[in-house]
């Protein structure tokens, strides 16, 4: 009779696959999430870079760090924010812009969401698919397209001028930023709204009809309150995205309208003001963190209701007047982003394009120039995005496995924490954390990749944890009982069954990485510039035609990949 466990078994068990994987995941987040965040917190108090990692290498170094902290730490940078007008103004502006854009997005999406979920509107499949397109276009490209359309010499401005309307809109204003963001971020509000409209119990609305309510009244009093969780979720997402949007304000650069995201970048790159940049970064993180936390709290229970419910059988509205009205409305809303892409495309083929409706001539020269001069950037985009994809595949596969199957719930939080990290803030944090030995990574491609991974892994996780939850634990139980140790079970059963979710999540990471700008601009070394950065710099320098050509290539890559994922996975690839 063998008794209990021996010493060798204990050691073997301590190095089990689960434990090693947990430690590896924790180490990754400690290094690339917690450490950077700790660094900006410290720098926001001391005003100068501190080698946090270095302090772990010896007792005397830890003491030295502690002494620096004790002598230099103060709240003066935080006090500055509230005394120095520009920062405080930036905080107010960012919040007001975010709230305004969220509300506008919710209002503008509501009829479309209703049309997609509840009516037999003609062409609603196409409308639904087109609604994803705005999300594929990086905002620095869409903002530039807006200048080409609504700027002083923009072609739409020209049309209105011919009709006798001068000065249609000044795009280089806060309102301009808001308009661009609304037309390109509204799908974030739309998609969750469609989901709740679809899954909501129709009997409640039917009850209100029976009680004599007119359709519109019933929509206001019954549908809306029931849909509130979905609307709220979308609104919060828009707020966070607007807060961290770097492209729009940089391209439109309205005078006298400071925003946190731009100020953080300026302090870092323009003035090398470490302390100021850190304080703004901390503010940004706290702002989106608080909003997301509130949302997670309020949404914790409701998300289940929308996913778990049986698809309700309902009568779709076929009233032709309602359907046509909604179709016209949806087409108008979608026309703006579509025209922006059309304008960018036209610009990319233009020889010159002044204050006219069409370019003077068309040419392929811009593309030839791009392939000649910027082929490296295209390769870089694929390498950086591909590396981020590879690392996220590993993380987004291991984390749900450890959380869902092994009960390591603390990892769950780590995976969702980065949602509250605007790219600019993360980049500043990473620069501060890794610009001294022992891990001097600032200025390497590795840091760019890690920034992509840390920021986007939550999106990949959403997809992979959903797919692991659909696998019955019995199936994994069967593989264990059949004699397969943990790793073999994962390899042969869990991973293959999670594969659709893993692919969807990984592609999402790749697509968002290749159009990322806010972290890239701070982190990417000269010889690793990806397409997005080359476009952005080109636009700032005034190389409009070639920048448009690379933009079209970028949009094309995104659309093709997204289309392939759609065909492979269907609806699940939406987010």
């Amino acid at each position: 009779m063998t008794s209990g466990i021996g010493a060798w078994d204990r050691v073997r068990r301590a190095f089990s696959f689960d434990n090693v994987a947990t430690v590896a995941v924790l180490l990754f987040f400690a290094l690339f999430l917690i450490l950077p965040f700790l660094s900006i917190l410290i720098v926001s108090l001391t005003g100068q870079p501190v080698a946090v990692l270095d302090a772990f290498l010896g007792f005397d170094r830890a003491v030295a760090l502690w002494e620096t902290l004790a002598t230099t730490a103060s709240l003066k940078f935080y006090i500055q924010i509230f005394s120095f007008g520009r920062y405080f103004q930036a905080l107010i502006n960012s919040v007001v812009l975010g709230i305004g854009v969220s509300i506008a997005c919710i209002l503008i999406s509501m009829p479309i969401a209703y049309a997609l979920a509840r009516t037999k509107m003609p062409g609603r499949t196409l409308i639904g698919a087109l609604c994803i397109v705005p999300l594929m276009v990086p905002t620095f490209i869409s903002s530039f397209a807006f200048i080409l359309m609504f700027g002083k010499t923009g072609w739409i401005t020209q049309i209105f001028a011919m009709l006798g309307i001068e000065e249609l809109i000044d795009i280089h204003t806060p309102l301009g930023i808001a308009i661009v963001q609304v037309f390109f971020f509204f799908p974030y509000a739309l998609l969750p709204m469609v989901a709740v409209f679809k899954t909501m119990d129709p009997s409640l609305e039917e009850a209100s009809y029976l009680l004599g309510a007119r359709r519109f009244f019933s929509f206001l009093t019954t549908t809306m309150p029931l849909a509130a969780p979905g609307i709220w979720a979308g609104g919060v997402l828009v707020f966070v995205v607007s807060l961290e949007d770097f492209g729009t304000p940089m391209i439109l650069s309205p005078r006298g309208f400071p925003l946190l995201i731009v100020e953080a970048y300026r302090e870092m790159v323009g003035y090398f003001n470490w302390g100021g940049a850190s304080v703004i970064a901390v503010l940004l993180v706290m702002l989106s963190g608080v909003v997301l936390l509130v949302q997670r709290r309020t949404l914790g229970t409701t998300e289940f209701r929308t996913i778990g419910g049986k698809p309700a059988k309902r009568e779709l509205i076929a009233n032709p007047r309602i359907c046509i009205g909604l179709l016209v409305y949806s087409a108008i809303v979608l026309a703006i982003p579509m025209l922006a892409i059309y304008t960018t495309a036209l610009q990319s083929f233009a020889t010159t394009w002044g204050a006219q409706l069409f370019p003077e001539g068309l040419t392929l020269r811009n593309y030839a120039y791009v392939f000649e001069r910027s082929a490296g950037a295209i390769v870089n985009s694929f390498l950086l995005g591909g590396a981020a994809l590879a690392i996220s595949v590993v993380l987004s596969t291991l984390i749900p496995y450890l959380v869902v199957r092994r009960g390591r719930t603390s990892l769950d939080y780590l995976g969702f924490l980065p949602l509250a990290l605007p790219g600019t803030a993360l980049a500043i944090a990473m620069i501060l954390a890794f610009n001294t030995p022992p891990l001097q990574l600032t200025g390497t491609a590795l840091l760019v990749i890690m920034a992509y991974v840390v920021r986007r892994v939550p999106y990949a996780l959403r997809s992979t944890s959903a797919s692991i939850r659909t696998i019955s634990p019995d199936i994994e139980g069967a593989s264990y009982v059949l004699g397969a140790p943990t790793f073999l079970s994962l390899w042969s059963v869990t991973f293959p069954l999670m594969l659709p979710g893993i692919i969807a999540g990984a592609i999402m990471v790749f697509l968002t990485s290749i159009r990322e700008i806010s972290a890239t601009i701070l982190l990417a070394p000269e010889d690793w510039k990806p397409m997005s950065l080359v476009i952005f710099e080109g636009l700032i320098r005034g190389e409009f035609y070639t920048s448009s050509a690379i933009s079209m290539l970028l949009i094309l890559v995104v659309m093709i990949v997204q289309y392939v994922v759609f065909r492979l996975l269907g609806d699940k690839a939406l987010f």
Binding site: S472, D474, G477, Y480, V481, G483, W491, P496
Partner: protein, 377 residues
Amino acid sequence: MAQVRLQGLQKVYGSFRAVDNLTLTVEDGEFFALLGSSGSGKTTALRCTAGLEQPTAGQIFIGDQNVTHLPPYERPCGMMFQSYALFPHLSVFDNVAYGLRAQRYRDGGLLDKAAVLGGFINRRLFPADESVRKRVLEALRLVELENQADKSPTQLSGGMQQRVALARALVTEPKVLLLDEPLSNLDRKLRVSMRATIRKLQQSLRITAIYVTHDQEEALSMADRIAIMDRGKVVQLGTPAEIYDRPASAFVADFIGAENILPGRVVSAENGYTLLEVGSLRIRATAKIGATRIRAVIRPQAIRLARADAPMQASNVFDGTVRYGAYLGATARYEVNVGDHLFIVDVPDPRPGALMAPGERIKLGFDADSVILVEDA
């Protein structure tokens, strides 16, 4: 083959004791059923034996080996799940071969490990060995599915899927076969034929089997011995005949389908008869019991009915009124009021046209030796 011993097994979830100090010995080659309603702890006990749950306390032995702390993949068990748990992305052949490949992965060197892992990426580059092939096809032949090897399990019917699961559980020649309500998702006819398939295979392989079910008929028809579980404890353990004929408590009697359980008391015991007072009824029984407060258990099949004017030979005869009658094919089930008691009666081989009508006055009788006495808890 091996004996399985559970010793003081305990599994606690929060404040809920799923398995409460369970001690059992399943003999080598025995077919042992754990019978109980949902939440009785039978499945948890089985999953602890498989290693899929870690018990809170207690020990599990398979043969001479203490497996309490072994992971499931190091235990000599095969298992069938209620949900079949077939791998939907693997063919029937690869499902059955899985255990053999896992064996090679565990016992083999680095090259073997790599070949097994590679096989799950591309089957053509890493084809099955001849010995694996033979054993898989042999296992599939046992369950009469050798022609379905290349299909996906999702293309098969529920019954076929369950047979694949059986072949998969047996192909590695485990010492113990664990079955977790394997038939509850099948329709009735398939269920009955699968019972025979499993039982025959178990007997010819002489494998120790532990079978979890909530279906008393299944347990009675398949098992050598049955343990009836309630709230994490065994409330009665015995052969099917012992359990059926001598339920130890009203709970067990109820569970195995004795519909008439009447609370009463013992008035006297003389001339080999025990005289009972059950409400307004006086009942004579041959069984003996030490207690005074009892329950009299009478199976529906043990009761006979006759027209009010017909003679009836029985130790206990009462006048009653038919309340309800239903034709079930092989039997007819009646509800009969006797005084303020309601009896459930099964009459064999009924004439469809000649059912007794509700309201009809009749005679109801049963023999003294068909009355089972249990203590009133």
